[in-house]
């Protein structure tokens, strides 16, 4: 198998290195065969898919190593530090930004064998779990005990808890239940120097900064999460949905803002622009409405749900909304994962596409939307580039929207195609930044958005680099990601 690796990649572990890793995690947990290296080399980013099926050459790790407990993770990190070996933490590997790509070789530390639920605390409503558990498995486990984490992102069936924390992931019920940063109470992390860090056992405290935040959204560049204590909720007594048709995007955003600033707690709030309404809702959910569709849902105690629905309906009707009844929301909720399966995937490969999630305060958000749309559709008219979006994560200070650019044709030459991709991404992201937007890629910053980080943070970028350098002086952890360099 070593020979196989050498032939295919030009890189390999020496027998001594393999032996040392096997000593740490056991023989069967060091995998160097061609089949697994290949299967683990991809995520869901368009570029990696496109790149993989080309003759441009593709980066691959030397080995996949599967630790089964925290002590083994410590052993691997120490080993990699000693040998200056790049180390890429990976769980589901279904990110959208090349975050788990072994750009400079090294070993992938696959956490999927650390997949146990360690404890459910039914009094304080928390669950302690390992990072490699697939979210669906965690949710099923909680449901069987009468609880839920209420984290339902698109990759719910395949991504793992550790990956969601590492990208500060967001699910479709985030307007009420928040992002992972709102869900995590405590983290156990193996630091790049091999020492173990455990944050304080409560989520809110005034005992200095909450250092656990360093690792939420850090994409494995600052440490490897080995355990997490997360918030859970009783299964809701009632969860209902309604759909409304708003005359335009401006009216929809304002109605959504009113709902949030008045203190309502919709679990679901999704406002689709006209194109998204016609593409996603019409083509994939058979919901055919001209205009901007807003789906809203409430859950929890039945009496509270009913009252909140009533108030939200008043706000939406006052905004000249047309009540579409329960069906649109219910159809969407029940079929919410269906649009990610081929052939129904609305951003199906090989179409060139990228998600460019953006968050901003209410006063800027609509301007940003139109600026990004113009940048894509007018800037790349010759390629019939389209831009569509839905606003799906709402707060009492602003909202986040989920724009997608899409090209159904592009240059045949692979290098030219990749160049075009980068130009569109640049135009779209910079249109956002220039108008006060913040790159909000809960699908991963990874490589895709790494080059924008200096612009996003401005002077604050140097703080990020300094933290990285202090924690990981040998730059072993997930090199080249998050714009933190190698």
């Amino acid at each position: 198998m070593d020979q196989e690796m050498t032939e295919k990649t030009g890189t390999f572990l020496t027998e001594i290195q393999r032996h040392e890793l096997e000593t740490i995690v056991g023989k069967e947990n060091v995998v160097t065969d061609e089949a697994e290296i290949d299967a683990q080399s991809l995520d869901v980013w368009w570029v990696t898919r496109f790149w993989k099926f080309s003759d441009l050459g593709f980066p691959r790790p030397f080995a996949i190593v599967f630790p089964e407990n925290t002590a083994e993770v410590v052993g691997i990190v120490n080993y990699c530090n000693d040998h200056r070996m790049p180390l890429i933490p990976r769980a589901g590997g279904a990110g959208d930004a090349g975050g788990s790509l072994a750009l400079t070789g090294g070993i992938v530390v696959d956490l999927k064998k650390m997949d146990r639920v360690l404890e459910i605390n039914e009094r304080s409503l928390t669950v302690r779990a390992q990072p490699g558990i697939i979210q669906k498995h965690l949710e099923e486990h909680l449901n069987r005990h009468g609880y839920t984490m209420n984290h339902f992102p698109a990759s719910y069936t395949t991504s793992c808890l550790g990956g969601f924390i590492s990208t500060n992931g967001t699910g479709v019920l985030s307007s009420k239940y928040g992002k992972l940063s709102d869900m995590v109470h405590q983290l156990e992390v193996v630091l790049p120097n091999g020492r173990l860090f455990r944050s304080l056992p409560v989520r809110l405290h005034s005992t200095g900064p909450d250092y656990s935040r360093l690792f939420i959204g850090a994409e494995g560049t600052l440490g490897i999460i080995t355990e997490a204590l997360c918030k859970i909720h009783p299964l809701p007594e009632k969860r209902t949905f309604r759909g409304f048709l708003l005359p335009d995007l401006k009216g929809g955003i304002e109605a959504g803002r009113r709902i949030m600033v008045q203190g309502l707690q919709p679990c679901l709030l999704r406002l689709y622009d006209e194109r998204d309404s016609s593409v996603i809702l019409k083509e994939q959910f058979n919901l055919d409405f001209a205009g901007c569709v807003l789906l809203i849902g409430f859950d929890g105690l039945a009496r509270i749900v009913d009252v909140q629905h009533e108030i939200a309906s008043d706000i939406l009707m006052a905004a000249q909304g047309k009540d579409l009844g329960e069906r649109p929301g219910l159809v969407w909720w029940e079929g919410r994962y269906k649009s990610y399966y081929p052939p129904n995937d609305y951003i199906a490969y090989p179409w060139m596409t990228a998600v460019t999630d953006t968050v901003a305060p209410y006063e800027d958000i609509e301007t940003i939307y139109w600026a990004m749309k113009r940048a894509v559709e007018e800037g790349f008219k010759e390629w019939d580039a389209t831009f569509q979006a839905h606003f799906s994560h709402w707060y009492d200070w602003g909202t986040s929207f989920y724009p997608t650019f899409l090209l159904k044709r592009y240059p045949e030459d692979r290098k030219e195609a990749l160049g075009l991709y980068n130009r569109i991404l640049d135009a779209s992201i910079r249109a956002s930044l220039e108008n006060g937007g913040v790159v909000n890629e809960h699908h991963g910053i990874g490589l895709k958005n790494a080059r924008f980080m200096r612009e996003v943070y401005g002077d604050g970028y140097e703080l990020a680099r300094a933290i990285k350098k202090a924690l990981d002086p040998n730059a072993i952890l997930n090199p080249e990601k998050l714009g933190l360099g190698a």
Partner: protein, 373 residues
């Protein structure tokens, strides 16, 4: 046949991660190359000239039990199990088949048991073999004949108690499914024709089998392969036949005690692939006085025991690991006995639960009923 046949599925699934959580082999190994996406990706790369049939890739393609849970879980039911099977056809065509697979195939083609042993000669107590025009021709299946005499004896007792007019084949060729699953499609059809001829020669009214693989072959694959069985022949799985006998009052089992924590495991071929879910459950309820405990993920979504596609022979250690995951499902509900309706499931569960201090036991549904006589 081969890669072109399933290119649509391969190209669709190669970038889709959605069903990974369901794959029983992946749950046991956590290898991405064991997932439907992994298989589709590797095959697509080979198809596009970016990869070749390395030893490890060939090995992976023989580490899928073809249980079909990925297909069931998929919103569009892409036939990923067929991707694996067609890939195996390609591997066979290119003569890259692993030695162990070649050896099993050779045994089946030459009329031996999959283990390579000479087929066990079986003389039931309550019938004589190769009798023409019997009401029932009972085919235990090659794996049951080879490794599970207790199931054969139990069926002998039951058919005896029913005073059934029945017979067996003195020599029972492979039904073809194991060969088909391993990628030997032409050979599968050839042995199927041989078995079908045996059935034609005896002309029974009912073709009864305890093996879900045989059951599926007679009901679903033979018509697709153009292999004909006698017109009007009724094909029944043992659970269906025995449940019908009880329903007609022809068999009156007594209540069996001591199985209050018994669960039922749906064999993939019988359940998910052939839709037989209720007959075994009704049978168990009749015998035990209460329905079996349901394992988490049962019925159409039941996780495989790991034995499928002869994986219990091509890779017994992997089968054991997959079966251990299913046994964890038993422990979750404090089930101490798992009843199943497939001899290969029993093999897998026995292997995974063997050893000192084991707290679980596996039983075929036919054995359970025989205890109630």
């Amino acid at each position: 046949m081969g890669i072109p046949e399933i290119r649509g599925t391969t190209e669709s699934c190669k970038h889709c991660f959605m069903c990974r959580h369901a794959c029983p082999t992946f749950l046991a190994t956590k290898l991405d190359s064991h997932t439907p996406r992994g298989y589709a990706l590797l095959l697509s790369e080979i198809d596009h000239g970016f990869q070749s049939w390395t030893d490890s890739i060939v090995e992976r393609f023989y580490q899928c039990s073809q249980c079909g849970l990925c297909r069931e879980d998929c919103a569009y039911h892409w036939a990923e199990d067929e991707v694996v099977r067609n890939a195996r056809e390609e591997i066979v065509a290119q003569e890259r088949t692993p030695e162990k697979v070649r050896s099993i195939a050779s045994s089946l083609i030459n009329g031996r048991a999959p283990s390579g042993r000479v087929q066990v000669s079986w003389s039931p107590v309550s019938c004589s073999p190769d009798r023409k025009n019997a009401d029932v021709l009972y085919l235990p299946g090659c794996a049951a004949r080879d490794s599970h005499p207790e199931i054969l004896q139990a069926m002998d007792s039951l058919l005896g108690a029913l005073h059934a007019d029945w017979t067996v084949l003195g020599e029972e060729p492979c039904c073809g499914v194991p060969l088909w699953d391993l990628g030997y499609s032409a050979e599968a059809k050839a042995v199927a024709k041989k078995l079908a001829q045996n059935v034609h020669d005896l002309m029974p009214r009912i073709l009864l089998t305890g093996c879900p693989h045989c059951y599926r072959s007679f009901k679903e694959l033979y018509p697709a392969w153009g292999v004909s069985l006698p017109e009007g022949l009724s094909v029944m799985h043992a659970s269906q036949y025995l449940e019908a006998q009880i329903a007609q009052g022809l068999l009156k089992p007594r209540r069996v005690e001591g199985f209050s924590r018994a669960s039922y495991h749906d064999p993939c071929q019988l359940g998910r692939k052939m839709g037989v879910f209720d007959a075994p459950r009704r049978l168990i309820e009749t015998i035990l006085g209460s329905p079996p405990l349901e394992l988490f993920h049962s019925g159409r979504m039941a996780e495989c025991c790991g034995a499928g596609s002869t994986m219990f022979m091509t890779d017994p250690s992997l089968t054991r690991r997959v079966a251990e995951k299913r046994i964890e499902r038993m422990r979750e509900i404090k089930s101490t006995v798992v009843i199943t309706a497939c001899q290969n499931c029993k093999t897998a569960f026995q292997a995974a639960s063997s050893g000192e201090g084991s707290d679980v036991k596996a039983l075929d549904i036919v054995e359970l009923l025989a205890m109630a006589l």
